[in-house]
């Protein structure tokens, strides 16, 4: 059976209510007649023999790269960097694709007599992974072999003893990355390319960089000029990363990039209905929907959150490419687009979207209002190539409870950002100039980032910059079912029903608006023509 492509449905009288994520629950909404609903393509068929495909990719690299086994020399230092817990979402069922790839790489290294090996989680300014998360991503065999010898490391962007300054790009951007990785005889990067933003030079240039370096592309100016950063050819963020990546290569850092793509088979059997088209729901789907939505609504927030975060996706490997970074990434992008892209004709006045319980930065944790903002305006809004799905001056309607709830261990600086910064202003440029430095250099946040499991003090700022392009572009944002106080704190308007939200949007975009709904799960990306 081949998977069906995505398509645009126009709502008519016979269209059943549409499923929307609403945090750790979901709701059914009936859209006005004429609304366009963007259905993603169905999950692609996975590779039949993942281990064989991995072996094949490693030995048949693309670009100028030599087969991996020829790169190993006895006595060399090998560093294997890998994507952290922010990918994939939700975490995939064991074995994680990183485990498969790393095991294959390690076997080859061992066969070649390479024993000076380090594993480094490419955290950038993300939180350190917990033991459970590392075990899940790498498998217990790898974890137990590397941890006691202190060879399983997590990148520390604030460790002056393990950072190396590689000079600046021709645009004056500081390139400072993990010293161990930069000075290794070979740096292998194991990536998961869930969306088109990931991978390429960004893997090393951001994932293993310091705050000094990252700030050159994670800022309001770059973000406003990344249209969108899901489309690297129109993304200032990527241009900067590519300059840095090429600079890193020019400095003699030898990188062997391994990129993997997954299909969009996001939910296990029980939650099948989430990815199905509503009119194709079976009786079983209906009862599963009713049972699960009722019980989630009846549970306290923390419990339904816990339940949802325990979900492991049955993602399957659809492609793996290894070798030289740019050549690898070109192939990866094609694969990602073929899974996610849907062609849409023309922009819309109102774009609606349901936000799920998880985004890249709240795995096993709480989606706080700043992350809600970022997931909507940073990620979903940017799921386009060409031009934004919503027209300039249009409105985005987000469905999410948006409560002022925070994880104090993972997101300590977010709490202060919410209480101290957003109470003053929501303007990205003003936030950047007035507050970024004090948060970025706060010794307490640095301490928690380095020793605890906290995101770097500057991270909430990046979330805010992530949405800068959308803020610039949109005429308004409405949060359906959002906590009024928290929603207003973000600078948005709360609405209690979809009809109310659309009425409110009309005051911004005018009567008789065109409405488009981004149906998820799974992930979908619009090519607006």
């Amino acid at each position: 059976m081949t998977s069906r492509p995505g398509f645009v449905l126009e709502v008519d009288r016979s269209t059943p209510p549409t499923l929307l994520w609403h945090g750790s629950s979901y709701r059914l909404e009936k859209f006005p007649k004429g609304t366009r609903i963007l259905y993603p393509p169905e999950p692609q068929e996975p590779l039949v023999d993942p281990r064989g495909a991995i072996e094949d990719a490693l030995e048949n690299p693309v670009g100028t790269s030599q087969p991996l086994s020829t790169l190993f020399k006895k006595g060399m230092t090998l560093v294997i960097a890998f994507d952290d817990v922010s990918l994939p979402l939700p975490q995939m069922q064991a074995p994680d694709v990183r485990q498969l790839v790393i095991e294959a790489v390690l076997e080859k290294a061992a066969a070649a007599g390479v024993d000076d090996v380090y594993l480094v989680a490419a955290l950038a300014l993300h939180r350190r992974m917990t033991e459970g998360e590392l075990r899940h991503a790498l498998g217990s065999r790898v974890y137990d072999a590397f941890t006691p010898r202190k060879r399983l490391l997590q990148h520390d962007a604030e460790d002056p003893s393990n950072l190396v300054d590689l000079g600046t790009t021709d645009q004056g951007e500081v390139v400072e990355i993990n010293k161990l990785a930069a000075e290794a005889d070979l740096l292998i990067y194991v990536n998961i390319n869930l969306v088109s933003m990931d991978g390429g030079h960004k893997s090393v240039a951001t994932g293993l960089a310091s705050y000094r370096s990252i700030r050159h592309h994670h800022n309001v100016k770059t973000m406003v000029h990344s249209r969108s950063f899901m489309d690297m050819h129109h993304s200032e963020l990527h241009s900067s990363n590519w300059r840095m990546g090429r600079h890193i290569a020019a400095q003699g850092v030898k990188i062997f990039q391994i990129e993997t793509t997954l299909n969009t088979d996001t939910f296990p059997k029980l939650f099948d209905f989430l990815s199905k088209r509503e009119w194709e729901w079976t009786l079983k789907d209906r009862s599963a929907f009713i049972a699960s939505s009722k019980s989630l609504q009846a549970s306290p927030d923390w419990l339904s959150r816990d339940i949802m975060h325990k979900i492991r996706s049955p993602y399957k490997l659809t492609g793996i490419t290894a070798g030289e970074v740019e050549a690898v990434h070109a192939r990866t992008l094609n694969k990602v687009f073929s899974q996610q892209l849907v062609t849409v004709e023309g922009q819309t006045d109102i774009l609606t979207m349901g936000l799920p319980f998880v985004g890249p930065y709240n795995v096993n944790s709480i989606m706080n209002p700043i992350l809600v903002y970022c997931l909507a305006l940073g990620y979903f809004f940017n799921m386009y190539v060409g031009k934004p799905l919503v027209r300039e001056g249009g409105v985005v309607i987000i469905s999410h409870p948006n409560k002022a709830e925070f994880d104090p261990a993972f997101h300590p600086s977010y709490i202060d950002f919410y209480e101290q910064v957003l109470t003053e202003t929501t303007n990205p440029a003003e936030i950047e100039s007035r507050f970024e430095e004090s948060f970025a250099t706060d010794p307490w946040y640095i301490h928690l980032y380095r020793n605890g499991n906290a995101y770097h003090g500057v991270h909430p700022f990046y979330m805010w910059y992530w949405g800068a392009h959308a803020l610039d572009h949109l005429g308004g944002v409405i949060v359906l079912g959002g906590d009024p106080k928290a929603t207003r704190r973000l600078g948005f308007q709360p609405a209690s029903t979809m009809m109310d939200a659309i009425e409110m949007a009309k005051s911004i975009v005018g009567d008789d608006p065109s409405i488009t709904h981004l149906h998820s799960p799974p992930l979908v990306m619009a090519e607006v023509i």
Binding site: E133, L303, E405, F406, P408, A409, P412, W444, G452
Partner: protein, 777 residues
């Protein structure tokens, strides 16, 4: 008569800091340019007589008129030229004057004695010392200082209420000449009062009573440490003595037919003065209830909160549903400027001569009576037109007046008071903290107000029921001798008062202004916010500060028990974790009891559990304790506040009874951490013993002082954050105290002292019951 007779004279005045005294000084300075003043002022505990004169008399708005017309510098010059200060005390023999001051007194021509204990519920002994012995003592000192010069004139300001609870006409006569009064040997009264005081002192030391004071102190401030408890207990003992003496005073007064100790002691003071056989001449002025001024220095001037005001304000606030009193009864009120004019006229007229004492009533009741009923009507209609506002910005509506007897009102209020006491006792049993206790704030202030109203009704009720008629024949005769000019400046005719005008345009606006009640519909939250902002500005100042934080319930909502539970379960399997947690929960009540009794003992007992624990493992685990538990239980506002202090360049310290390795991960937050330190065995395991005094309770105050010295701060430059009464010693020692999520006892203390209260909560999102069991994330 007044202008001429007082020209070039020097007047000695006692009681200058009082209501009449201040007005008297002002009037002399303003209207009699060639009259000088010698003031008797008692030196305060911290301030000299001169300082008190400047602060307590000259600063009063009574002098605004004079100060403005002269200008500040000429005013000061004039005062320096005309007023001399004698430092002394009317309750001491010879007034405790220095030789120089005795000479000063000797040079005075007239002495006006207006010093008195005006409180109606003064303890018997102090009323006797000041009011009974005062007049004759001052008179004798005046006579001795002036070598028994018979030309000297002594004027004693007494009260019309020396007439006591007797009905009908009260003439301007000596009480000794009036058969209605029993013969009282005032000497014996003095002796008895002093004896009773000694007895009360003795009785208060009864072990049973002492125990009760101690229990009460503990109930009020909790386990705040020996020193504070002792302080509090001693204060309770003194309060008890005072209460006893007040009760004895009231009983003795009632037995002789006076409404209270004030009238009784004033009456006996007159008798003592009459029988003191002095060579100087004596006059006695007896004003009735003195209220705000009719005209001078400006209409409505008043000093201090007088007897009727609290009742009126309580009524306007809706606290007092009824005014006690007899509707057709007369309430004898006299504006203060009329009293001052009368005193000066008596001074100018000179004594009667022949060693005879002349008496003057300054009262309105017999010639221009203010009926109780009409006063209540005036008050009602005034507040209907100008209502006070409650905290929500709503005008307070007034109840109807039904003229009940005093006893009915009394029982009504005391019933309310009992109810509030009950509510308070009930809340103190609840395990509430911080903002959940906000409702008690209103409870507490209502209770205070009701208690106060009750006291006033008890005390002053009899004055509203007084049916004596104070004749003013002598006063009228005196007025007849005033010249036309003097009639404009010194008219004391009570007939000139139009009560309706006086009450509604002069008196009530003045007392409303004085009582600082809400007269605008501004919401309390607005003013509370302003106050809070002000407080915060004082705390987050750019000045150098040493800031001390308590840990448990101030920075994190965790304690030594749950951090132990977390660490202990960190390496256990699922079932073992449950067993461990269950055993701790089972032990909780006994642990809590021990903690309440003595925190130090509790900690030492509990810390034994760490015996033989591996230090290295604990050190590693403490990091997971931080992100796995402590951060979840931390107050983000507290963490932010610590860093705000640091950003301002303040030194921050954490003072905690928790163990060193538990708080180690918090070290980047503070400049220094003072914690309990456990000794280590030779094999690197813990001994389970914490030698020395753990940094808790009283020890914290001392540590704060030591840290202040170490970092070169004065104690006033310190700020302390804490949550419980056990931290009281540290909070009291600090320059600024901040209570975080206080329990009821501390919250009440904090409110009374104006300490800042922070209600900090954990970040929302985690389950509210978060078990201290380590889990893998």
């Amino acid at each position: 008569m007044i202008f001429e007779e007082l020209e070039g004279k020097t007047v000695f005045i006692t009681g200058g800091t009082g209501f009449v005294g201040t007005a008297l000084i002002e009037r002399i300075l303003r209207t009699l340019p060639n009259t000088k003043i010698v003031l008797l002022i008692r030196a305060g505990r911290r301030s000299s007589s001169t300082v008190r004169f400047k602060r307590e008399i000259l600063k009063n708005n009574c002098f605004d008129l004079l100060r403005n017309s002269l200008g500040e510098s000429r005013f000061e010059e004039m005062v320096a030229d005309r007023v001399k200060i004698a430092s002394g005390d009317v309750s001491k023999d010879n007034l405790g004057l220095s030789e120089g001051d005795v000479r000063l007194l000797g040079e005075c021509d007239i002495a006006i004695h207006s010093a008195a204990t005006v409180s109606f519920d003064a303890p018997l002994d102090s009323a006797v010392e000041v009011n009974l012995l005062g007049p004759s003592r001052v008179a004798r000192a005046f006579q001795d200082a002036s070598n028994s010069d018979p030309g000297k004139h002594f004027i004693s300001v007494s009260t019309a209420y020396v007439a006591g609870s007797r009905r009908g006409n009260a003439p301007e006569l000596s009480l000794l000449d009036n058969s209605l009064y029993p013969e009282v040997d005032w000497g014996k009264e003095v002796k008895a009062a002093r004896q009773l005081r000694d007895d009360a002192e003795l009785n208060s030391r009864n072990p049973k009573l002492l125990e009760e004071f101690q229990r009460k102190a503990r109930r009020e401030i909790g386990s705040a440490g020996i020193a504070l408890l002792a302080d509090r207990t001693e204060k309770l003992r003194k309060d008890w003595i005072r209460k006893e003496m007040v009760e004895l005073g009231r009983a003795r007064a009632a037995s002789l037919g006076w409404p209270d100790a004030y009238a009784y002691s004033k009456a006996l003071g007159e008798m003592a003065l009459s029988s003191s056989k002095l060579s100087i001449q004596i006059s006695i002025v007896r004003p009735s209830i003195i209220e705000s001024s009719l005209d001078q220095p400006y209409p409505g001037w008043i000093r201090g909160f007088r007897m009727a005001e609290p009742i009126i304000i309580s009524f306007a606030k809706g606290l007092l549903k009824e005014f006690p009193g007899v509707p057709e009864g007369v309430i004898d009120v006299i504006p203060v400027d009329l009293v001052v004019s009368a005193i000066l006229a008596v001074a100018a007229k000179g004594p009667k001569g022949g060693g005879e004492i002349e008496h003057f009533h300054v009262a309105s009741g017999s010639v221009n009576p203010l009926r109780y009923e009409s006063l209540v009507d005036m008050v009602r209609s005034y507040f209907q037109e100008h209502p006070l506002y409650d905290n929500k910005g709503q005008p307070i509506s007034l109840p109807d007046w039904s003229s009940p007897g005093r006893h009915k009102v009394q029982s009504e209020i005391s019933r309310a008071s009992k109810l509030f006491n009950l509510a308070e006792a009930a809340t103190s049993l609840l395990p509430l903290r911080g903002s959940r206790l906000n409702f008690t704030k209103e409870l507490e202030s209502k209770k205070l107000e009701i208690d106060r109203a009750l006291t006033y009704v008890e005390l002053y009720g009899s004055y509203a029921e007084c049916e004596a008629n104070y004749l003013i024949n002598n006063l009228d005769r005196l007025r007849g001798r005033l010249s036309k000019d003097e009639l404009t400046a010194f008219d004391f005719d009570p007939r000139q008062v139009n009560w309706q005008d006086f009450v509604s345009t002069v008196h009530l606006p003045s007392i409303v202004e004085h009582s600082r009640v809400k007269t605008t519909p501004e919401k309390a939250t607005v003013s509370a916010k302003r106050r809070s902002d002000r407080q915060l500005k004082d705390i987050l100042t750019e000045e150098p500060r040493l800031v001390a934080f308590d840990l448990e319930n101030t920075v994190v909502a965790a304690n030594v028990v749950d951090s132990f539970a977390y660490l202990a379960t960190r390496h256990l399997g699922g079932a073992e974790k449950v067993v461990m947690a269950a055993s701790l929960i089972a032990e909780a009540p006994s642990l809590l009891r021990l903690d309440k009794k003595d925190r130090g003992d509790f900690l030492r007992y509990f810390y034994r559990r760490y015996e033989n624990a591996n230090t290295e493992t604990l050190h590693d685990d403490s990091w997971s304790l931080l992100s796995g538990y402590l951060l979840t239980k931390a107050f983000p506002d507290a963490l932010w506040r610590v860093r705000e202090h640091r950003r301002l360049g303040h030194k921050t310290v954490l003072i905690t009874g928790a163990l060193e390795f538990v708080v180690q991960p918090l070290s980047p937050l503070f400049d220094e951490i003072v914690s309990a330190k456990m000794t280590i065995n030779d094999d690197g395991t813990l001994t389970g013993q914490v030698p020395g005094t753990p940094p808790i309770g009283e020890a914290r105050a001392e540590i704060l002082s030591q840290l202040a010295r170490k970092y070169d701060f004065s104690e006033t430059q310190t700020i302390a954050y804490a949550d419980g009464t056990s931290d009281l010693p540290m909070l009291e020692r600090a320059g600024v105290a901040v209570c975080v999520n206080p329990e009821l006892k501390l919250m009440n203390i904090a409110r009374r002292r104006g300490w800042r209260i922070e209600n900090w909560s954990r970040a929302h999102g985690s389950p509210s019951l978060y078990l201290p069991i380590a889990k893998v994330r």
